[in-house]
């Protein structure tokens, strides 16, 4: 499946009776790259979870391409084209690396695995290891690789670099950038490392208390340190 446009309109959501997000509207063109920025606890993760149908929907719509997926359950959204790599980088613990990857295939032939092994040679080396025997970075690679095997139209990445060694961050980010630039999928990235995030994205959106408070182009934000300070409370290092 080729990349698809992601369109969110007046989305509101929360957990149970608690509302967290309100009036979220944005669109990412097919093959586009969007970064979500914001301080801790402002609703970035909740926004990705809402796109996957994991929260309580309170209004608004989500579209992939021409398809309205708002009413769909989580598994159906995944089938409709979303690929989600959550912050917790959960992998199936009792399965080996290779078995974990098989679960991401969605019925396509097993030879497709070679593609991700080429992308992550480390996983090829550890293909028969159990999920629990992997380091944090390897788990993150596995989680990402499994999602990529599903050929998502829209890839949602929630802080993929959190807690990883800088050298692994570089490798992983390089892979993600390559993927995004290829135009094969639309990518939405949540990332705390602002410098890397701005390198990655064309478009940036800043969230504050569940609302979009700023959106624009990455260079624009990079050039305006004062704005960054106001919005995010940190300078670019």
């Amino acid at each position: 499946m080729p990349a698809a446009r992601l369109e969110v309109e007046r989305l509101a959501a929360g957990y149970g009776s608690v509302g967290i997000l309100s009036d979220i509207s944005f669109a990412v063109p097919a093959g586009g790259r969007l970064t979500l920025l914001g301080r801790n606890g402002v609703g970035k993760t909740t926004l990705l979870a809402t796109l996957m149908g994991l929260t309580t929907h309170k209004g608004g719509t989500v579209r992939i391409g021409d398809r309205d997926v708002t009413g769909l359950k989580t598994f159906a959204r995944a089938a409709a084209g979303f690929g989600y790599v959550p912050q917790t980088r959960d992998i199936f613990r009792s399965l080996t690396v290779e078995e974990n990857l098989f679960t991401g295939l969605k019925g396509r032939p097993r030879t497709e695995l070679d593609e991700v092994y080429a992308m992550f040679p480390r996983l090829a080396e550890r293909r028969n290891h159990g999920g629990m025997q992997l380091s944090g970075g390897e788990q993150q690679m596995l989680s990402l690789a499994r999602t990529l095997l599903g050929k998502p139209q829209v890839l949602l990445l929630d802080e993929p670099l959190e807690g990883l060694a800088p050298v692994i961050c570089d490798q992983l980010m390089e892979t993600i950038v390559k993927l995004a630039r290829s135009g094969e999928m639309t990518v939405v990235l949540v990332e705390q490392q602002i410098e890397r995030a701005l390198d990655f994205a064309a478009d940036v959106m800043v969230i504050e208390r569940g609302r979009i408070v700023w959106s624009g182009q990455a260079p624009q934000l990079r050039a305006d340190r004062e704005l960054v300070d106001t919005l995010l409370g940190v300078g670019i290092g």
């Binding site: 994991l54 359950k73 989580t74």
Partner: protein, 333 residues
């Protein structure tokens, strides 16, 4: 012991085929040993094989899908009653009787699965017990088709393939049972390596994560329950063919609970664990209850505590893991 690592072995087709052949050979050899070394205990061994089907079936839902159930004997018992009834109605061909058991077991698995897999945790456990008790109560009440508390007697299957008659020593019955077990086991080992079974294990690990990669969880669990029902029904039918009687105990709560104990003993999530657990439990039961008719339950309790304390993942899984560790250490040297 190479066969014991089938679930974690590399997944190439050639390795899979080799594992299947080894599995078939192991069952055939162990079966032959049983036949020649214990010619007077064939009835007992036949009973063990019948129960093994129930435990293997339980493993498919509990070990592979993480479904907690204490009502699994219902699937076994309904298969047994169905096979008994068609035999009494005149269909005495053993293969057709097995087929009837499979169909009845699958149907019961479907009903049970639709109900039980809708929930998780305690509600699931309670529902499984309720379903099991319901079937047990029906078996007691519907005496016209189950014989009630007297049991369904007079089941006299015809010869296998019209040639091999069931004899009073259980020789035909034993060989027939071993062959059915062998075929079932090899089929299920293949099945356990399929993407479907893999996804079931993924669901057991993390249901939410499975949903996030696009898996519709409920339908898969129901399908797995149907497969488990087929296997349990097959075991029930086999037991009915061999013993000629189906009693209320075959659907009872105690049978369900014992099957779970056998599974924990051998190791859930591993088909060999289920098979070996059933054999070990029944052997222990057989010899200990003969030696000490009044205290064997105490000893079984103690055995279980020891196993859970020292082999929390079951005997087979633990032994496989240690062999794996040993190999790794040797390879590292």
């Amino acid at each position: 012991m190479a066969t014991l690592s089938v679930t974690s072995a590399p997944q190439s087709a050639a390795a899979g085929l080799r594992n299947d052949l080894i599995a078939a050979a192991v069952i055939a050899v162990v079966g032959a040993i049983g036949y020649f070394v214990f010619p007077d205990d064939l009835a007992f061994l036949i009973r063990v094989i019948g129960l093994a089907f129930l435990v293997i079936s339980l493993d498919l839902v509990t070990g592979y899908c993480g479904v907690a159930t204490l009502g699994h004997a219902a699937l076994f018992g309904v298969g047994a009653y169905a096979a008994g009834n068609v035999c009494l109605a005149g269909v005495t061909d053993p293969i057709l009787m097995l087929l009837t058991g499979v169909i009845a077991g699958t149907a019961t698995g479907l009903m049970s699965g639709l109900l039980v897999t809708r929930f998780r945790g305690l509600p699931q456990l309670v529902l499984s017990i309720a379903f099991g008790q319901l079937v047990a109560a029906l078996a007691n009440k519907l005496s016209s088709i189950t014989g009630g508390s007297d049991g369904l007697a007079g089941i006299a299957p015809g010869p296998v393939f019209g040639v091999f008659n069931f004899d009073m020593f259980g020789r035909t019955g034993y060989i027939f049972s071993v062959i059915v077990l062998l075929v079932t086991m090899v089929t299920l080992l293949r099945f356990s390596r399929s993407p479907f079974a893999l996804m079931c294990r993924a669901i057991k690990d993390d249901t939410l994560r499975a949903r996030m990669i696009g898996v519709a969880v409920y339908p898969r669990l129901v399908v797995m329950y149907c497969v488990a029902g087929a296997v349990a029904g097959l075991g029930g039918a086999l037991t009915a063919i061999n013993t000629g009687v189906v009693g209320l105990d075959s659907v009872g709560f105690e049978r369900s609970a014992e099957a779970l104990i056998m599974l924990i003993l051998g190791g859930a999530g591993n088909l060999w664990g289920a098979l070996i657990g059933a054999i070990l439990f029944e052997l222990f039961h057989h010899y200990v209850s003969a030696a000490s008719p009044f205290h064997w339950m105490i000893l079984i309790g103690l055995l279980l505590i020891v196993v859970v304390l020292f082999f929390p993942k079951g005997l087979v899984n633990e032994v496989t893991r240690r062999i794996g560790d040993l190999r790794q250490r040797r390879a590292a040297r």
